[in-house]
Amino acid sequence: MGWSNRTALLAFVAAVIATPFVFPDFYYKLNTVGIYTLIAIGLCLLLGYAGQISLGHAAFFAIGAYTSGILTTHFEWSPFLAVFPAIAIAVVVAVLVGLPALKLHGHYLAMATLAFGEIVHKILTAWIDVTGGPNGLISVPLWKVGDFKLKYFGTEREAFYIVWGAVIVGLVVALHVVHSRVGRALRSIHDGEEAARSLGVASSGYKVKVFVLSAVYASVAGTLYIHIKGSVTPEVGSVDLSILFIIMVIVGGMRNIWGAVLGAIVMGIIEEWLNDMGMIEDWLIVMGMSKEWLSEPQKWRLVIYGLILGSMMMFIPQGVLPAVRQGLGFLWRKVLKRRVKEAVDA
């Protein structure tokens, strides 16, 4: 980690600590955004650094959520213990799927992971005895320390700090991975697998390892999620959610962990915004428009995501963060530098 990452990390920690005080009416809605961010960081390692797509990552999120949900409701485990089997199952599944799947390239990998995600989603819906079927699990115990429970939609700041604390830990781990030998190996695989192999990078091993690591991120996020929310439905494993994770990583800029964080926060807030009628109406009134103009924001969600994703890929495939950086650099070189020089000369 260089100094710029350290500075950014410090700023990020400060922002996390400050948010509940700056936005006291709003911050608890960012709990979901934090959970998305954790998954996006893991997925960024896979998609952005190793260049391998997974259209089924919500499956690992669901595996984490359901494993600890079932252990805590049916077998009365503590959520703190249930994290470990949840991680273990995600690792086993990720190895079993990743070993053969990551031998595939391009479209084959995309479709294989998509099919894997859909299989998990359908099994969660169909295996009623264990998963509760389409209704999912309800009254799952919440995180509890002593008599103290962490609620999802409460105004308590603890849930917010737990979720974002996990994001910070995930971020530190990911930054260390990226700036290690492993990170360099992954980038070499992205830029040219054949060339990387010829230089002695064991590409398939690295690819499976990073797939497993990103599955662990998603599984931990699933465990965090279910014990804050108290319930879960098979929709946490839907392809729709997998693709939302991909959108998050891509919007911010997939070749940079910070890009994934930015993308997850931006897209997460948009997602929450589209899911929340009241907030949309408030905004419309602020902008001086009638409520009826956008009476059902959910209806526009797919169109908006399609347009965001499509235009990103067509015009700034590198993502928002690098694009902004390039734009600023361009501005600096072309305009400001000359002005400064003129000013100095004068």
């Binding site: 053969p100 391009g106 359908k122 169109v303 067509m314």
Partner: protein, 299 residues
């Protein structure tokens, strides 16, 4: 779960063949774009969904006679395919596989969202084309629509065979998929061929959507599952091979109905998709393909 008897087995096979025809048509749609460009169009299922919903609207709301309603679905969805290629695929500056996959995902989101806004969340269907009296063959009951779907599939297969084998345009398309530069040297414009491929593929999807809607019904979000099953059929056959895709589509349909009858209908999708994964993992060139034929495409 029903008892496994000969009659039941035959019934499941008959139903499976009908569903298989639809998968086969979706698979052929995948193949045409794949052959022309090396892209798997993840919005293919949405084209089928649009075909179904347009047929319903044209027949029920615009008062079109049935053949004209089907034609409207083919033409409109075909035009949507052409428009998609021109607006979203062609202007891409650096067409890597990852970027193209994501653009077709974006397309599928956009079309699904557009359908949601036009048709709402309702489930739509129209009556079978030739009345509701089922055909009885021994103990097996076949729905009236099944022969229609079968004829549509045969029509698509024969028409494509003639198009790619006999016409100048079809040969030009094949030429530009084998070697873009060489095709350009003999006066073929590969860009137009890609656009044509999207148009034909979407048109076939529109036709599939139109003939299947009396049986399967249609909703704004029925696309992704159709796309996955169609892709499964295309992979089972070996990506790019249309004849094999038809056989594989029928096989997949039958297998799905059999597993639904013998095991449980809620596990039919995991079984079909699991089979696709096994084939992808262990025989990526398809059930009928030779190993050396799985070539790397241009993109």
């Amino acid at each position: 779960m029903e008892h496994i008897t000969i009659t039941n087995l035959l019934q499941w096979i008959a139903t499976g063949l009908a569903i298989g025809c639809i998968y086969a048509m979706v698979a052929v749609g995948f193949n045409i774009i794949y052959n022309a460009t090396g892209i798997i169009n993840l919005a293919q299922g949405e084209f089928v969904m649009l075909g179904s919903l347009i047929t319903v609207s044209a027949y029920d709301n615009w008062g079109f006679p049935l053949p004209l309603a089907v034609l409207a679905a083919v033409v409109i969805v075909g035009a949507v395919g052409v428009g998609f290629e021109r607006i979203a695929i062609r202007p891409v500056r650096k067409p890597t596989v990852l970027i193209l996959i994501i653009i077709t995902i974006a397309g599928s989101y956009f079309f699904r969202g557009a359908a949601l806004n036009i048709w709402g969340e309702g489930v739509y269907k129209i009556g079978q084309f030739f009345g509701e009296t089922p055909i009885r063959l021994g103990g097996v009951t076949i729905r009236n629509q099944v022969p229609v779907i079968f004829v549509a599939l045969i029509f698509v297969a024969v028409a494509l065979g003639l198009f790619f084998g006999r016409t100048m345009t079809g040969k030009a398309m094949r030429a530009s998929s084998y070697n873009r530069t060489a095709a350009r040297l003999v006066g073929v414009n590969p860009g137009n061929m890609v656009m044509l491929a999207f148009g034909i593929s979407a048109g076939i999807a529109g036709l599939a959507g139109a003939v299947m809607v009396p049986i399967t019904q249609a909703q704004y979000d029925s696309g992704p599952m159709l796309a996955l099953k169609g892709f499964a059929a295309a992979v089972l056959g070996g990506l790019g091979n249309n004849v094999a895709a038809v056989v594989a589509g029928l096989l997949l349909g039958v297998l799905e109905e059999l597993s639904s009858g013998c095991i449980s209908s809620s596990y039919k999708d995991p079984i079909a998709l699991g089979l696709m994964l096994v084939v992808l993992f262990f025989r990526p060139s398809g059930l009928f393909g030779r190993k050396d034929l799985s070539k790397l495409s241009e993109f």
